[in-house]
């Protein structure tokens, strides 16, 4: 085997791919060849490092130099300076890692220091398309241990003892689910993986599958052994092409090595996996709808019970877990239940991955021990709010969750404390909002999403969410009344208690939580006909400040509807009846004389 003195890791996650990492990798290939380094330096494509805002990311070992925002033009310099002459190109380093003259370890930077990577342990470390690298970092050891040293009951007991709860959002104890499926009677059982990550702004599962697909495959095989299934399905959305491709490669390699298939490790245990592609319907993330979709039918939920553990895929007992849940399994088997239970809070053990987005400096993927406060996530790991703005709220759980206002920023993040403040863990999207976000508008945004994604099977969800959206639109248009607020609230509770599946039952959450914490904003829209954040167009007013206006007429020439008039060299005026609030005048004014109110 060829020995390399340096490794160049280029992130091939979706975030970095969209900022051009493929071109960077190609350039590395070319430059390494030109400098005759291809036998000395190894080029590796990896999964997500987490700091998507700084992509494309390139890390060079053994120094561990973390280059950010690398462009193809920069590659020549890295190769000639760093790889050939050993001089790290400081101008391209992630600025936090540069400390005076030495480079700091990435783990000492604010972004990584508070993180604990369990589910993401191999993302950005190994090449996801090479099973050997996964095996080198103890891959498939847990499967070997489970099959050769543990009984099925012991495996389930370890998962139970670890306190692992479902990472897809519900937070149901994973070990219990395994136990139910194990105890269910049936000639055939299935193990399924929910990789239908649909929350706007969430991309944890995608990153795990892109960066460490074997971790999920190994865990599903362990689950198959524990519950007595010999066939598994990964249900993944077709919108994740990179993840699908890497999964296919990984399954192929695992089969080739006999880690999937017949008589694994000579124990007589058979297990194989197939991929099922989803067409991107949000409701298919709901477990019964997902299983229905795997069966080839229209993805619609059905009432529970019976739960999938009793009657799932094709009416057979089926275990369904989320990608991130599976990503923890092998580590728990290898390191033990106590190790896992030592992380986190009393009722929420381990770590959780969050996709950090919105008004935050370090957009990306973070994994933190349960119980970390929102303040630590936003101010330390996330690097704070851009442009010196003030933190207003964070939305967790996407369209099923709720918002956490600034006053509760010290809330420890775990399943139960989030529920108690009217939000939920969800799958892990965390959208940060600043003072420029209108909370009514945010609620409306999520309702638009659920109205679109409602499957239409049950009336409360199909009709109820539509009505909710109409009331919200009325309010943001400045036509709402105080009675509308009451109606909004009672309709929310009606939908919550009567919808068929999780989608409908949680759809009112964004409305309820914004009503709870930002009622004053709703009232400002209704009573004062004002949007405090100046977001809602219908309520906005552009006004010319006569003291600043020089009467240059530039704005009136920009106005597409001729709403601005006046005499040269004296203040101009906007006719509010004609104004369509496009903002063109404000953008054109050189004196900052036009205010949006």
């Amino acid at each position: 085997m060829n020995i390399y003195r340096a490794h160049v890791l280029v992130c091939g996650g979706t975030g970095c791919t969209s900022s051009g990492s493929a071109a960077v990798q190609e350039e590395f290939e070319k430059q390494l060849k030109e400098n005759n380094l291809e036998n000395e330096v190894k080029l590796v494509q990896t999964g997500c490092f987490g700091l998507c805002a700084l992509g494309p990311v390139v890390v060079v070992y053994p120094e561990g130099a973390f280059y950010s925002k690398v462009k193809a033009e920069d590659v020549k310099e890295i190769v000639e300076e760093h790889l050939l002459k050993g001089r790290i190109v400081k101008r391209l380093l992630y600025k936090e890692t540069v400390d005076e003259d030495t480079i700091k370890s990435l783990n000492d930077t604010a972004f990584y220091a508070k993180q604990k990577r369990v589910a993401l342990r191999n993302c950005g470390v190994i090449n996801p398309e090479n099973i050997d690298e996964y095996i080198a970092v103890d891959g498939y050891q847990a499967l070997a241990k489970a099959l050769t040293e543990m009984t099925r009951e012991e495996v389930i007991q370890v998962i139970k003892d670890s306190g692992l709860r479902g990472r897809g959002g519900g937070g149901f104890p994973t070990g219990m689910k395994w136990d139910f499926t194990y105890k269910a009677e049936g000639d055939q059982k299935y193990v399924c993986c929910n990789a239908d990550e649909g929350d706007p702004g969430a991309f944890m599962d995608r990153s795990v599958l892109e960066g460490d697909p074997h971790a999920v495959i190994e865990a599903m095989a362990i689950a198959g052994y524990a519950v007595g299934a010999d066939q598994g399905y990964i249900y993944i959305r077709a919108e994740y092409p990179i993840a699908v491709e890497r999964l296919k490669i990984a399954i192929g390699q695992a089969r080739e090595y006999g880690l999937l298939g017949k008589d694994i490790f000579g124990t007589g245990f058979n297990f194989d996996l197939d991929i099922r592609l989803g067409a991107g319907a949000f409701v298919c993330g709901e477990e019964t709808a997902l299983l229905t979709s795997i069966e080839g039918k229209r993805g619609e939920p059905r009432p529970r019970p019976p739960f999938p553990a009793i009657k799932g895929l094709w009416g057979k007992p089926t275990l369904l877990n989320n990608v991130e849940t599976y990503a923890n399994i092998a580590q728990i088997i290898l390191k033990g239940a106590d190790w896992f239970a030592s992380m986190g809070t009393e009722k929420s053990k381990g770590t959780k991955v969050f996709a950090l987005g919105g008004k935050i400096n370090n957009t990306g993927l973070v994994e933190i021990p349960m119980g970390t406060t929102l303040r630590e996530i936003i101010e330390e790991i996330g690097g704070g709010i851009p442009n010196g703005k003030k933190f207003k709220a964070a939305q967790t759980g996407g369209p099923s969750g709720g918002c956490i206002p600034a006053s509760l920023i010290d809330t420890p993040i775990d399943y139960d404390s989030l529920i108690s403040i009217g939000s939920m863990m969800g799958s892990g999207g965390l959208i940060v909002m600043d003072e420029d976000n209108c909370m009514v508008d945010i609620a409306k945004f999520f309702l638009e999403f659920t109205v679109d994604e409602s499957c239409g099977k049950c009336a409360p969800c199909r009709i109820g969410t539509k009505r909710l959206l109409e009331i919200l639109t009325k309010i943001t248009d400045g036509k709402g009344t105080m009675e509308d607020l009451d109606r909004l609230e009672s309709l929310c509770y009606a939908i919550k208690s009567s919808a068929l599946c999780g989608l409908g039952q949680t759809a009112p959450n964004p409305v309820l939580s914004t009503l709870r914490y930002f009622r004053d904003e709703y009232e400002a829209h209704v009573k004062d006909k004002k949007c405090p954040a100046h977001v809602c167009k219908a309520l906005a007013q552009y006004k010319i400040n006569p003291e600043k206006c020089r009467g240059c007429s530039l704005c009136s020439r920009q106005c597409p509807v001729g709403a601005i008039s006046g005499e040269i060299k004296s203040p101009f005026v906007i006719d509010q009846n004609k104004c369509i609030k496009c903002g063109a005048c404000q953008a054109a004014c050189k004196f900052g004389a036009i205010d949006k109110e």
Binding site: M1, Y4, E40, P62, Y257, F265
Partner: protein, 123 residues
């Protein structure tokens, strides 16, 4: 896969592929001067010889890396060995042939090869 031994074999074989990427705080560092002067004097074969030797002896906590010009260009190729808690040792006029001895005596047995060091050269 029919046995654990098979898995272990693949693991051992593949370990070298990823070992380089581990964070090592307390390992020995071998730093080869790879500025223009070093490269001209033949530092690259020396660097590669160190990588091969470290690999062949399965020294997992030794990191071989490069650095720029140290300033004594006439003594290149220069190699510095940092053992944690000890004074660094600077080897000069290194060649591929000298590498095996430095690894065996200094890195493994912690006895610097005095005759190759800068001290004996400038005496």
């Amino acid at each position: 896969m029919k046995s654990l031994a098979e898995l272990q074999e693949i693991r051992n074989r593949a370990l070298n592929q990823v070992n380089l990427r581990k964070e090592r705080a307390d390992g020995i560092r071998v730093v080869v001067g790879m500025a223009t002067c070093g490269i001209a004097a033949g530092a690259r074969p020396v660097l590669n010889a160190f990588v091969r030797e470290v690999e062949a002896r399965n020294l997992t906590d030794v990191m071989v890396t490069q650095t720029g010009c140290i300033g004594m260009c006439r003594l290149e190729p220069i190699v510095e060995v940092y053992v944690p808690g000890q004074e660094k040792v600077t080897y000069v006029h290194m060649t591929e042939d000298k590498v095996a001895r430095v690894v065996a005596e200094h890195i493994i047995n912690n006895r610097p090869v005095t005759e190759y060091t800068v001290g004996s050269e400038t005496k």
